[in-house]
């Protein structure tokens, strides 16, 4: 990181390059306006006012960055907990969450499009080179010709709570190994497409493959919310709505029949 760059320029370049970074700003208290740029590993840049405060906020900001959270925290003048002399706004710029879509089928293009609107980095993966092409899925960030379990063996270790896997193959030959390999990761959402009959048959095969109750309970199968979706585009909305509802812990009724906060 060239030293002559301003904090804004360092932040801007990191955001563009999708390097995880957090910006801490004092918004109330003696050091109002002071800033600290916090990296996942490297030493922080700038200062909030003194080295003690910088050290405590660097620690907290790394935690917020790992979780992709943004919000306000309060400290004493030297970073003391349970004091409110200084208010620090910590803004996380985490890289976009990932969506892995297994199966280069009709539904894949629509799902990839909606996922891009929602800010996912989308990978389409299918073992069949004739279907898994960039020209069929121009909206995807990458199109990979490989077996799902092989791709997951490669990237699965990086997947976390914010990431999602959608298995659209509805062919036991592909989706059983894809489910088994997905369950071995910490990915936040695993949805598997198929009719009720496909689902029942697949569940039997998954149990034969050694998937236990806890593993089965992690799956959203059949994938999606019950909104009566028919077209690939409607199905994509049903799937992405389920992904959002899982993250927020809502049970996805109409707001008409519920009360309480809408965004909370």
């Amino acid at each position: 990181m060239p030293a002559e760059q301003s904090l804004f320029e360092q932040l801007r370049d990191a955001i563009r390059a999708e390097v995880p970074v957090a910006l801490a700003t004092v918004v109330e208290g003696s050091f109002t306006g002071n800033k600290l740029i916090v990296w996942r590993d490297a030493e922080s840049e700038g200062t909030l006012g003194n080295a003690d405060l910088d050290r405590v906020v660097t620690r907290d900001a790394r935690g917020e960055l790992a979780a992709g959270r943004t919000g306000m925290r309060h400290y004493g003048l030297h970073g003391e907990a349970r004091e409110e002399a200084v208010s620090v706004f910590i803004e996380s710029f985490a890289p976009p969450p990932r969506m892995l879509i297994f199966g280069a089928v009709d539904f894949t293009a629509a799902l990839a499009r909606v996922a891009k609107v929602l800010g996912y980095r989308v990978t389409v993966c299918d073992a069949r080179a004739v279907f898994a092409t960039k020209s069929r899925f121009p909206m995807a960030d990458e199109v990979v010709v490989d077996w799902p379990d092989r791709l997951l063996a490669e990237v699965g270790g990086d997947l976390g709570e914010r990431d999602v896997v959608c298995i659209l193959t509805h062919d036991a030959k592909f989706d059983v190994p894809a489910v088994v390999a997905s369950l071995a990761t910490d990915v936040g959402y695993i949805g598997v497409m198929g009719s009720r009959r496909t689902h029942d048959d697949r569940t039997k095969r998954l149990i034969e493959a050694g998937v236990d109750e806890a593993g089965l309970a992690r799956l959203r199968s059949p994938i999606g919310l019950d909104i009566g979706a028919r077209t690939p585009e409607e199905t994509a909305v049903s799937i992405t709505a389920e992904i959002i509802a899982r993250r927020t812990g809502r049970d996805a009724k109409s707001l008409t029949v519920t009360d309480g906060p809408i965004h909370g």
Partner: protein, 104 residues
């Protein structure tokens, strides 16, 4: 802030003074999450938003004042009832904005 970067670059490159307003805290039902940002140039050009369109006009006024005085500040917008015609959020929530010159 990500969606503002192109405009910020362009404005900075042209040597225009810019103020940035960020949602840093909120209570109750508010349309945009913490981190929502809006930038205002000294001659009143605007990028981004911090609410559903309810308070942006007032934020421009505050941002120009921040640029004129060169001082950073917190500004709070809450609920305003229809009869008062005051600037506020119709959704009933409260948002706290930090507004500062982009001089860092």
């Amino acid at each position: 802030m990500k969606e503002l970067l192109d405009d910020l670059d362009r404005w900075r490159g042209a040597g225009r003074a810019v103020a940035m307003a960020r949602v840093v805290d909120l209570e109750g039902s508010a349309p945009r999450a913490a981190g929502a940002a809006m930038a205002v140039t000294e001659d009143g050009e605007v990028s981004g938003s911090v609410s559903g369109g309810c308070v942006e006009g007032a934020v421009v006024v505050e941002a120009l004042d921040v640029l004129a005085k060169g001082e950073r500040r917190m500004v709070t917008f809450g609920y305003s009832d229809d009869e008062a015609f005051e600037v506020g959020l119709t959704c009933g929530g409260t948002i706290h904005l930090f507004i500062e010159p982009l001089d860092w």
